[in-house]
Amino acid sequence: MEIEIDGKIAQVPDGSTIMDAAQQIGAYIPHFCYHKKLSIAANCRMCLVQVEKAPKPLPACATPVTNGMKVFTHSELAVKAQKGVMEFLLINHPLDCPICDQGGECQLQDLAVGYGGSASRFQEDKRVVFHKDVGPLISMQEMARCIHCTRCVRFGQEIAGVMELGMANRNMHSEITTFVGRSVDSELSGNMIDLCPVGALTSRPFRYSARSWELSRRRSISPHDSIGANLTVQVKNNVVMRVLPRDNEDVNECWISDKERFSYEALNSSARLAKPMIRVDGALREVDWNVALDYVSHALKDVISNSGEASLAALASPQSTLEELYLLQKLTHGLGSGNVDFRPRRRDFSSDGKLAGIPWLGLKLSEIKNLDAALVVGSFLRKDHPLFAQRLRQLAKKGGKVSLLSSSGDDSLINLHAQLTVSPADLPLALAAVVKAAAQLKNEAAPAGLDSIDPCATSQAIARSLLDGEQRAVFLGNAAEQHPQAAQLHVLAIELARLTGATCGFIGEAANSVGGHIAKALPTALNAYEMFAQPRKAYILLGVEPELDCYDPQQALAALKEAAVVVMLTPFGDGMAPDYADVLLPITPFTETSGSFVNTEGRIQSFTGVVRPFGDARPGWKVLRVLGNLLALAGFDQNSSEQVRDEMVPAGSPFVAGLDNRISGVPLSLSLMAPAGELQRIADVPIYFADPLARHAPALQKTRDAVAPTARMNAATLARLAVTDGAPVRLRQGNGEAVLTARADETVPAGCVRVAAAHVTTAALGEMFGAINVERA
């Protein structure tokens, strides 16, 4: 199709709109309701343009291009129409720009300069629209500003997958609202603030704290999940004031999750650790860096000389930077210990040493949209990976068959092809059934050990979907990696991929779940679980809060409390750290350090600090480097984080090498019986408890996703325990216990109780997926 816009020729594919063509040749057509990622509404009418032979101006966003079409975006007819629309938009819009948070970044304000009149002809009373309270993240206090473009409504329906906002009433009384007093709870809700072209939906935490023109914009990368969303961090007076998405179509498109948007509040939290502290006479005291580091090096040397190198263990958060992880493992190995790991929530390490390469997603994020079918195994999907789930949602919307096999019956807000919800113990069996079904469909022999498995109709449907089409994928989620039989799940997924021709990959738990492998922050002796199961004398903890971040917090805490030396490198000094830490070294979070994250597709994304460090906090890589020097270890002479990175990956390479999910030498051994009579625990890691930053962000902690954990069971389980919904129950694992409220939840599989991890109320409990005892309290 050829189209002429203001004399410029554009070639566009059939089905394009005038707006598409205009964007292609860089012709700007004013608009409000149009958004590249949302369906066409054509309701604001700002993009009216003149089309040759059309008697009336036509909306560029909705008018399909016809061959030879001639469009005039600035003709008298077009401009008159655009100005007419602008006048209508302004007649009921309040004149409160001076106090409006959107001021300076308001599309209505900007376009009013070009298309608005200098005085209003509207002499009537303006519309009054009542404010709404929709929760701690989005402010809807000045809804008279709304211009009814419905971008927010369409975002909910189309991107977030849940319609929480609608436009109620009709005529000029139309108003955007939630259902009678409800809050907006989507984990992607903050994007609606960005989409709102005016100041109707604003950021509640950011409100009235700065004007947009006072902010400097710095590029950064999300430190939370494994997607590595690209961020713009906005800074005023050396303080991070807000975080916005930075467009990267291949990674986060133009979205970020609420965790990524609002966790910045933690950076300015009063819980930040300002100075190093060491335990003196039983109490932690602030000291200077040189005192603290000297203390650490002596303490570590003492432990090693008294108890041997193997008495030292180091555990890092997978949200640490690549550089931090690298120097930590170098330090640990340099001190002669092989007890280093970055996978605190892992239980099954039997695949270590059996992998062909670095586990990763198995394909590029941008390839997800081309899949014909996908199976996700062991994941809380949208709460684990909001943007990954969003991509699957779009895939399902255009006909891709997305199936979910997990222990969570939570609504994924994805139009699933098939869903199987089973107990954690049954998860390997359920995946084995899909493998067997695939083998049967292909008339191939199923792997040994699956003889007695009889695939159900749903397993067959999943297998069939994976056999159809060009591109298919199997994804292992966080719960599959945390699972006590993670390696079995891995082997089965690989086998399924082999049988069906699908790719197989790991979604990856955290910002550096791939990076940790690049940094080789992996054990050559005790792993993340063993280092607590077999208590050590000295621990170095990097960015982890073990009571919340470990697979078995009870075991971790016990070991830490008994240890001679616990050195903690952390941005925060609160929580349980004072109970076990002997040294607290304040390190800087991602906004105050340079470093790199390697996302789940192996993309290396380096970033620099955007503000000066808080107090005396220092970048973790520098602290580790100096420690290396103090301990007289070789290879600690880097002057920049870039130098550290370049020791791991060739400079300038966009992706890391060596990604390979194949596994060999792990025999299939499925236990066909779940432990009889025992209740099994299903532990989710709630989205806003998942890492220290999220846990320290006040607004996120006020959301519905951050309510304290309950003990969720289905009605049959409740009845068996003679417990009613709402009653207190005592939960026991090992010698720890917690008292929580029982909740009826029919999505929880039989014989299971769902108790969230990563929360202080459940920190006394043990393994995420082990047996658990529940009784009336």
Binding site: V162, M163, E164, L165, G166, M167, A168, N169, R170, T177, T178, F179, V180, R182
Partner: protein, 157 residues
């Protein structure tokens, strides 16, 4: 929330539409819920939404868009008077004023005994019968001169 009788009627409406288009029954279901309750509470709207598998706010959009739904309690009888131009030319406005005087209430008000709520309606598609009014969304009353209005009011007990 919804009685089994209401659910049965809603099921009959759902059956009119393709199996994957349950939401099509939302207007009828809301009308049925309103009949059951006398008005449409948020709880009723949500119950309808859940029954039809749609977002509560989507059902709320529908309930607030169409003006025969009452989202606030109304009297035992809701009398809607058409005052649109064709009716006005034949006494629609006069009929409304006559009713207001008789009942001692204005539009959108309810008599103290909770018996009658008066509404100003839009075109009911019966202009030839003006003045027209509708009782409880169901019964259309035609040619409502003073005598007829008196008769109607005597009936609404």
């Amino acid at each position: 929330m919804l009685t089994s009788e209401s659910l049965k009627r809603i099921d009959r409406e759902i059956a009119k539409y393709p199996v994957d288009q349950k939401q099509s029954a939302v207007m009828a279901a809301l009308a049925i819920a309103q009949e059951q309750q006398g008005w449409l509470s948020s709880e009723a709207i949500e119950a309808v939404a859940n029954y039809l598998g749609m977002a509560p706010v989507a059902a709320y959009e529908v309930a607030t868009f169409y003006n025969m739904y009452d989202l606030k309690p109304v009297g035992k009888y809701k009398v809607s008077v058409c005052t649109n131009l064709p009716c006005m030319l034949s006494g629609g406005v006069d009929a409304g004023e006559y009713l207001q005087k008789k009942l001692g209430i204005g539009y959108n008000e309810t008599t103290a005994d909770g018996l009658i709520t008066l509404k100003e309606g839009e075109c009911m598609g019966a202009c030839g019968d003006a003045p027209v009014m509708i009782v409880n969304n169901r019964r259309m009353c035609s040619w409502m001169n003073p005598e007829q209005i008196d008769k109607l009011l005597a009936e609404l007990k």
